[in-house]
């Protein structure tokens, strides 16, 4: 709220809050974009049949590979 005894303080805080709100919304959009990008790449990789698992220190045998 603007304080009439301190000229300019209300306008300043209003500007700061507006700026911070704009910055937060832009940050939200960026983070949303990153999430969407990771999701899209995951879908593409899974659709292409790429193994997404990391090495878990166990070797798996491929069924039928020893025949």
């Amino acid at each position: 709220m603007s304080d009439p005894r301190k000229p300019g303080l209300g306008a300043d805080s209003h500007e700061i809050y507006t700026r911070r709100k704009g910055r937060n919304l832009a940050m939200l959009a960026c983070l949303g974009g990153v999430v969407l990008m990771i999701f899209a790449v995951t879908i593409v990789k899974l659709s292409a049949g790429i193994d997404m698992r990391g090495f878990d220190h166990t070797f798996e045998t491929v069924p039928g590979a020893d025949q």
């Binding site: 300043d12 704009g22 910055r23 990771i38 790449v41 593409v44």
Partner: protein, 317 residues
């Protein structure tokens, strides 16, 4: 905004655009362009989503190194007319904020590129960030007049990273793309330094004209242009080049050498008399020169994509 906030940045006061400015958007545009060409010119197809995500990671990584550069160079940015309006010297962003943005985005971009593409491209991106922020900004820039020569390597890596995203390896083509930007950087920046000498002098940055004088700088511009020309034409004889590349590259390099020779032939008196017209013209053309070389890679990639290539074209590398 209060007067105090104009001169002293308060954490949390900056606009989003100020953080974007930390990433040097103009440099990012060049990085996106050259990385995309490296990726497109590679002989391996990449899914558009992965290509887009990878190029974004490369761009953000380059931007992060720009933020680290601005954090480190805030003192000299404040005394150079070209950089005085950057977010830190202008008091809109604190140095600590710039450092945090640089580190977070560096780690994030390398990690995501590792996941999206492959370890080689992520490793190259990490090395590029390290090279620009540490080797160039923190060490060479204030230590040697050859700062631009070695520092130029940082700007030369993006097409190589783009190529590595597609192929998972490095061959002659990305090495020559690297060489093209690497050898182009010194004559490009030294031409700028010839008519922006005062800026670097005020900031005590040991640019070649400040340390060795303008005569030596003019000599070096010609020498580097002579080395650049064959390196720029050679890609014509790789799988990424072809006759279109050769024809236009010959013309571009002849014009570049002509400009470098014109700079070499002049002295300071002649340059000051016409307001550095030749140097400014050369600097402007050098931007188009690099842009057009990468457009040529793109043209050849499109032609190859449609099967429009000469079967008898000699591929030497």
């Amino acid at each position: 905004m209060s007067d105090a906030s104009l001169t002293t940045a308060q954490s949390g006061d900056a606009e989003f655009g100020d953080y974007v400015a930390l990433l040097k958007p103009r440099v990012m545009r060049l990085v996106v362009f050259t990385a995309a060409i490296g990726l497109i010119a590679a002989p391996v197809g990449v899914h558009p989503v992965i290509a887009l995500a990878s190029i974004l990671c490369i761009a953000v990584g380059a931007g992060a190194s720009g933020a680290l550069n601005m954090w480190w160079d805030a003192d000299i940015d404040a005394v150079m007319s070209r950089t005085v309006k950057r977010p830190i010297p202008a008091g809109r962003v604190t140095g600590d904020e710039a450092l945090a943005v640089g580190i977070v985005l560096s780690v994030l971009s390398v990690m995501l590129l590792f996941l999206f593409a492959n370890p080689l491209s992520a490793g190259l991106l990490a090395f590029t960030i390290f090279f620009y922020a540490v080797i160039y900004s923190m060490w060479l820039k204030r230590a040697t007049p050859q700062n631009i020569v070695i520092g130029g390597a940082a700007g030369a890596f993006p097409p190589m990273i783009g190529w590595a995203v597609a192929t998972g390896g490095i061959t002659w083509e990305p090495v020559l793309m690297f060489a093209l930007i690497f050898l182009w950087t010194p004559p490009h920046f030294w031409a700028l330094a010839l008519f922006r000498n005062d800026d670097y002098q005020n900031a005590n940055v040991p640019m070649l004209p400040v340390i060795a004088g303008t005569r030596a700088t003019r000599n070096q511009i010609l020498i580097y242009s002579l080395i650049l020309a064959p390196a720029a034409i050679l890609p014509a004889f790789t799988a990424a080049g072809g006759p279109v590349y050769l024809c236009v590259a010959l013309w571009l390099n002849a014009k570049f050498l002509f400009g470098a020779h014109a700079i070499w032939r002049r002295d300071d008196a002649a340059a000051e008399a016409d307001g550095f017209r030749v140097e400014k013209k050369f600097f402007g053309f050098s931007i188009a020169y690099l842009f057009l070389h990468f457009v040529l890679f793109l043209v050849e990639a499109v032609l190859h994509g449609f099967g429009l290539q000469l079967q008898s074209w000699p591929v030497l590398l």
